[in-house]
């Protein structure tokens, strides 16, 4: 399910004193099976951008094309539908997008609403036509994947800790097996082990063909998992690149105000001081250690 943003603009509270232009002329292609990380300073427009992909927000102007279905504002969409044949129009149902695109919010509390954890996570599958029994089964599988213990199944989502809530919100979305999984800072609030496990889970989904689009401030995640990085600044896309080329270019890093992952900056210091290691191979502390060992063997 390819995604294409064309000349998309988004303005919050248009024509009011609180008017805020959040995105300007966004043009972007996301190809199937990629693992895209969206980065950028506070308020740069990341959450606004991703909410267009499943039509939670509709563009002030321009469009997003999700597998041929156009997300547009009402007026534009009307005009667009007029230009189509009756047959083509049938394929323009936004509901199709909702079924295939799962989005986990930045604040998980805003997507939890059922009385119990288990009901909450099985709501989605039920809603998309699974029987009660199947939905419960799917919910239990997902809850297990995100590390939620059975003892919490009958609790209200509002009686959970922050990290537990985030896990339940993620379970609620992955129980739908979406083709495109959008995650807005999914590791914020998770303990270190939870964060690693969650990233490994997303990585497995990615390897099985799910497109992953993730907003994150954690550059360790970007370097380790992303196939592509998109950098936003004040509502503009200012860079699209591969993770390593982002961190290889010191000037760009400085200009973008992006902090490099610790293993990368350490590796760069080693190189500066004469050690021969290949920065391309450094993805985390373990791979950094491997590179150091290799370099020292060569040396000796």
């Amino acid at each position: 399910m390819p995604i294409k943003f064309s000349h998309l603009n988004y303005v919050y509270s248009k024509d009011t004193p609180l008017e805020t232009a959040a995105l300007h002329d966004i043009n972007l292609d996301i190809i199937d099976g990629s693992f895209v990380c969206l980065v950028g300073h506070t308020g740069s427009g990341k959450s606004t951008l991703i909410q267009h992909i499943n039509a939670l927000l509709t563009p002030t102007s321009g469009s997003v094309d999700v597998n041929g279905i156009k997300v547009m504002n009402k007026k534009d969409k009307k005009g667009f539908l007029k230009s189509l044949s009756k047959e083509e129009r049938k394929h323009q149902n936004i509901k199709e997008i909702r079924k295939n695109v799962g989005l986990v919010f930045q604040f998980p509390e805003y997507q939890l609403f059922e009385e119990t954890v288990l009901k909450d996570v099985s709501f989605g599958p039920k809603n998309f036509g699974f029987s009660d029994e199947e939905a419960i089964k799917k919910a239990k599988e997902s809850l297990k994947l995100v590390g939620i213990d059975e003892s919490l199944y009958d609790k209200s989502p509002f009686e959970l800790s922050g990290g537990q809530r985030r896990r339940v919100a993620i379970a609620g979305i992955i129980s739908l097996n979406p083709d495109i999984l959008i995650l807005d800072e999914p590791t914020a609030g998770l303990d270190p082990q939870g964060s690693n496990e969650m990233m490994e889970l997303f990585n497995i989904l990615y390897k099985n063909g799910t497109t992953i689009i993730m907003v994150t401030h954690d550059m360790d995640i970007v370097i380790k998992y992303a196939t592509d990085v998109i950098v936003l600044k004040k509502g503009d896309i200012i860079l699209e690149c591969k993770p390593h080329s982002l961190f290889l270019n010191d000037e760009i890093l400085k200009e973008l105000c992006v902090e490099e992952p610790k293993p990368i900056s350490f590796a760069k210091d080693l190189i500066k001081n004469g050690m021969k290691i290949s920065l391309e191979n450094v993805k985390d502390t373990d791979t950094l250690i491997e590179e150091i060992c290799k370099a020292r063997v060569k040396y000796e």
Binding site: D191, H217, C257, D269, L270
Partner: protein, 271 residues
């Protein structure tokens, strides 16, 4: 030394027979910066809510600046304590960012003509000076966290509890907030900080770290000592900072680097 927080034999449960704390004791000195680390669901936010009296202990004693937490003292205690909640939306009262920061000030009898300059000062400290007229609830995640922090700092509390208050900021934004707090602590040596975070690099900056797991204190020591317990920390779902991981990892490969200073480590490795 005077104590900011003194907790003795605390017992607490939300529901019958599932105790979050069965016998917790800890104390924090006035002027200390203490980080609370612990896995999801270990009881950190619960402890924060107990300290400001939003939850009531089943038994045990909580003292804040020498006053016992009870019905009589609760408002006096709260007027001295600022808490930044895990979800900033639980915090906003004002309809604009400026009102929200002002709200705390009004409660503290700040003269009206000083208010504007104080609001501006604290909004700029967190980089939100251009958003004073916006609604707090219609900001981005990171902007909300910044405003929540400004609102609490502006009240000049003697104790600030920060419950993952920078979880949605980038490393630089987190550092900026830490620097602001550092500056305030330099100006007021008695300012006490209790910080809850999952970021071990951030925890490294504190005077002391208390590690809890399932409602029990596992470690209570200076950061340097805490992070020497790699295995035990990993076992309770936590992590250690990069320099420790690197040093320990190299050691298992037979490379002994006796330093935790990045520059020195580079020098030793490149010899």
């Amino acid at each position: 030394m005077e104590k900011a927080i003194e907790i003795t034999s605390l017992e607490f449960e939300y529901e019958k027979d599932s105790k979050v704390f069965s016998d917790l004791s800890l104390s924090i000195q006035k002027g200390e910066y203490v980080t609370l680390l612990g896995h999801n669901g270990s009881g950190k936010s619960t402890l924060a809510r107990l300290i400001i009296g939003l939850l009531e202990a089943k038994s045990g004693k909580i003292e804040v600046f020498g006053k016992e937490l009870n019905e009589e003292n609760i408002y006096a205690i709260r007027s001295n304590v600022g808490i930044i909640f895990q979800n900033p939306d639980n915090q906003f009262i004002g309809s604009t960012v400026a009102d929200d920061i002002a709200f705390g000030l009004e409660n503290h009898q700040v003269p009206h003509d000083e208010m504007d300059s104080i609001i501006k000062k604290y909004a700029s400290l967190v980089g939100m000076e251009d958003f004073l007229d916006k609604e707090p609830t219609s900001l981005s995640g990171g902007q909300k966290q910044r405003v929540a922090i400004a609102g609490v700092l502006a009240m000049h509390p003697s104790l600030i509890i920060m419950d993952e208050s920078t979880s949605m900021l980038d490393p630089r934004g987190k550092k900026e907030i830490r620097d602001v707090v550092k500056k305030l602590r330099n100006e007021n040596k008695d300012l006490t900080i209790l910080s809850i975070t999952h970021d071990v690099e951030e925890a490294f900056d504190s005077d002391r770290i208390i590690v809890i797991s399932n409602g029990k204190i596992m470690f209570n020591d200076v950061p340097n000592k805490i992070f020497e317990h790699e295995k035990e920390l990993l076992n309770i779902k936590l992590d250690i900072p990069f320099v420790y991981k690197l040093r320990n990892g190299l050691k298992t490969k037979g490379i002994d680097i006796d330093s935790l200073d990045e520059k020195e480590m580079v020098r030793l490795l490149c010899q």
